[in-house]
Amino acid sequence: MLEIQNLTKIYKNVVANSNLSFTVQAGEVAVLLGPNGAGKSTAIKCIAGLLRFQGEIRVCDFPNKSIEAKRNFGYIPEIPSTYENLTVMEHMEFISLAYKVDDWKPKAQGLLVRFEMMDKVDKLGKELSKGMQQKLSICCALIAEPKVVLFDEPFVGLDPHAIKELKDLIGEMRAKGSAVLISTHMLDSIEELWDKAFIMCHGKIAAIRKRSEMEQNGESLEELFFEITEGKEEKA
């Protein structure tokens, strides 16, 4: 569903991503792990089509910048950015109109109820706290029911209820057959969620593990993470 082949992103003289290759299948929750500056957000932005890159990225068998691909993925950025002068409900309406979502109101209400935002529907974007903006950003990305969902540090700034709700939602998306890719450095937050982990360090994928493999081998994701990241940093 999501295929990345030899993704390389270079900013002037800095190699942010070097030859990343991985896939996320339908009904799979993959996590992109790594310390700060590992290149996770850059990779997510390249996949979302926001940055130029070398290599190939396909979403549902379409190149990621094609209209068909855009119709099929949702992206939740690390820093939420709402429209200052639109209300919460107008954000949902705008995205629904732009993505041509049928019968959007019940869907919007369902999402807003889950994230406890129904009392904020008439609040303007600029009146929302950072956490509220993050919730709205999630609701906007999910209203079009995307088949591939890209989360960039989704739990930062959310309250405990929203974190629980988001985890439930990710579980539901997996059950419905969506492919989910989450970029994070907070290992605890994705402990019970992940099916596949890509551990990044210095712009490269240092390890790929499936949960089933790790459980069989008795490996711990946390130990592996520190082994890779701290080991490499020492060498550097």
């Binding site: 979302a48 926001l50 950015s81 002068n85 209300t87 995205i95 109109l97 732009a98 041509k100 303007l124």
Partner: protein, 530 residues
């Protein structure tokens, strides 16, 4: 003390190092320095016996009071509502929490503000050549004018902080402070009108009343103007009195602030955050003209599908952002044009015909429009990820996202010249061509913006040099249209202005369509970086 002193030293040192690493910024500062030196030298070595006709000095009196009002009123009004600030968010995060005396922190803020004001003095000095030419001022007189502006800026910030802390949101005290402020403004207007009435209510009295000495009786604004013009004109007694009055009031404000041990940290928090956001927007090329508080009456986009939803969203945002759908840049433009047309009509004394005044106004408006052209809806849209993610063709998104930006100058042009034409009793065809020229320039600016975004992406470093290149590019691209219209005007002088303006308008529209067409895939290539 050592921590604050260390911070000051490091900030100055890092500013210099940063300048060395940014050649564009360094070049800009060198250019400013050269302009100042050239202006000073040209005035020093100018022929003393040369007979030059200078503009009426009363214009300078009026202009200076205008500048003082523009500095003081917004700061004081904002200060009364949400406080003023001389701090940055980094000061709030690091200094406010540190075990440093609040008085020392305040002194640090004031010194920093004073240094910023000194920088403004240098910027003003770049215009000293024009002031010298217009009013026959010497270099030092210009320096005194600039120092007055800088001191005023710093003093008013301090005053606003004190007023806010003293009133502390208490309605009665806020009303009292507002009343005093409005009384001062009304006093200025009343004194001017009284002088105008006494002096004969004609054009000459309108101009000479600007220099009325009674205006200098008005506290703060008048005193500062009186002090500065006292020094400039050699009336040192007057200058001394007004300087003392001004210094006493500001001194009392500082003493009250320090002696009463006002807890100013809370008072400056909101305004510091707001100003930091404005500075950030400015650095990112976003201009914030929006209204602070928005009353949401009706909600919903209701229309739009796919990329066209962007257009209906922009309409809704404009409705919320602007009063009566008229944006702040448009208001500014209308105001400038009214003043310009009145001054030109009065000063030309029928030498310039109505049609000529309209054309002059159109040329000036096209030039002013350049400075607002980077803040359209479409460029704001590029600051959000949504436009890149929408499942629609790049060209469709680009067009729908730029419709309101293209429409705005067209509507402004029509409104402006529909009003000015009957007022000046000008030819309606001339008004039509002026409106069309203004609208077509708006289209061209948008096209050039799109092209530069396509070529350079989001410009976050070396904005100054890129802006200079941009200005030169716009000048170059408009040249064929301008030259053709001028040639037609010279060689076919019998033709009406309407025909003369057509090549300019046609060229603007044609080249804009070509540029936008060539950049149709820009959203697939431009990078989005938050």
């Amino acid at each position: 003390m050592s921590a604050v002193w260390y911070l000051c030293r490091k900030q100055v040192k890092n500013f210099i190092f940063d300048l060395i690493h940014k050649p564009g910024k360094l070049a800009l500062y060198i250019i400013i320095a050269v302009i100042i030196v050239v202006a000073i030298l040209s005035r020093i070595f100018a022929y003393q016996n040369e007979t030059i006709v200078f503009s009426d000095i009363y214009f300078l009196h009026g202009g200076y009071i205008g500048v003082m009002l523009l500095i003081a009123i917004p700061i004081l009004l904002r200060g009364l509502q949400s406080g003023a600030t001389v701090f940055r968010m980094s000061d709030v995060h690091f200094l406010f929490n540190a075990p440093i005396s609040p008085k020392l922190v305040l002194s640090y803020g004031l010194v920093k503000q004073l240094l910023t004001s000194v920088f403004i003095v240098f910027l003003l000095l770049t215009n000293s050549y024009q002031l010298s030419n217009l009013f026959g001022l010497t270099v030092w007189q210009t320096v005194i004018l600039a120092i007055g502006v800088a001191v005023m800026l710093c003093a008013v910030q301090m005053l606003a902080m004190v007023i806010y802390s003293l009133t502390n949101g208490r309605k009665f005290l806020v009303h009292v402070a507002l009343t005093i402020l409005y009384v001062c403004i009304l006093a200025l207007a009343a004194i001017y009108l009284a002088e105008f009435y006494v002096n004969g209510m004609d054009v000459n009295s309108a101009i000479s009343s600007l220099g009325s000495p009674y205006l200098e009786y008005v506290p703060i604004i008048g005193w500062m103007k009186g002090a500065i013009f006292g020094f400039i004109l050699g009336n040192y007694v007057t200058a001394g009195i007004y300087t003392t009055l001004f210094a006493v009031v500001i001194g009392i404000a500082i003493v009250v602030f320090v002696a009463r041990d006002l807890d100013f940290y809370e008072d400056v928090l909101e305004s510091t955050a707001r100003f930091d956001q404005i500075r950030r927007n400015k650095r990112e090329g976003k201009m914030n003209f929006g209204r602070g508080k928005v009353n949401v009456k009706t909600t919903g986009l209701k229309r739009g599908s796919g990329a066209s939803a962007l257009f209906y969203k922009h309409l809704l945002e404009q409705k919320r952002r602007n009063r009566f759908f008229i944006s702040m840049p448009s208001m500014f433009l209308y105001l400038i044009n009214i003043v310009f047309v009145v001054i030109l009509s009065v000063s030309s004394r029928n030498i310039i015909l109505s049609d000529g005044i309209l054309i002059c106004s159109a040329i000036m408006s096209c030039y002013i429009q350049f400075f607002f052209s980077t803040s359209g809806d479409w460029s704001l849209e590029l600051e959000k990820a949504t436009i890149y993610l929408l499942p629609a063709r790049s060209f469709q998104k680009l067009l729908w996202a730029s419709v309101t930006t293209i429409m705005r100058p067209m509507i402004d042009g029509i409104l402006m010249y529909t009003v000015l034409c009957p007022v000046l009793q000008a030819n309606p065809l001339t008004a039509l061509v002026c409106a069309a020229a203004y609208g077509s320039m708006g289209l061209l600016y948008t096209a050039c913006n799109i092209l530069f975004r396509r070529l350079f992406g989001k410009i976050s470093v070396n904005r100054g040099p890129v802006m200079i290149v941009y200005m030169l590019f716009v000048a170059l691209i408009t040249a064929p249209g301008i030259v053709t219209s001028i040639l037609i005007f010279i060689f076919l002088s019998n033709l009406s202005i309407f025909i003369v303006g057509l090549p300019f308008i046609t060229w603007n529209v044609g080249i804009s369509i070509l540029i936008i067409g060539l950049c149709r895939n820009m959203l697939d290539y431009v990078e989005y970086n938050d």
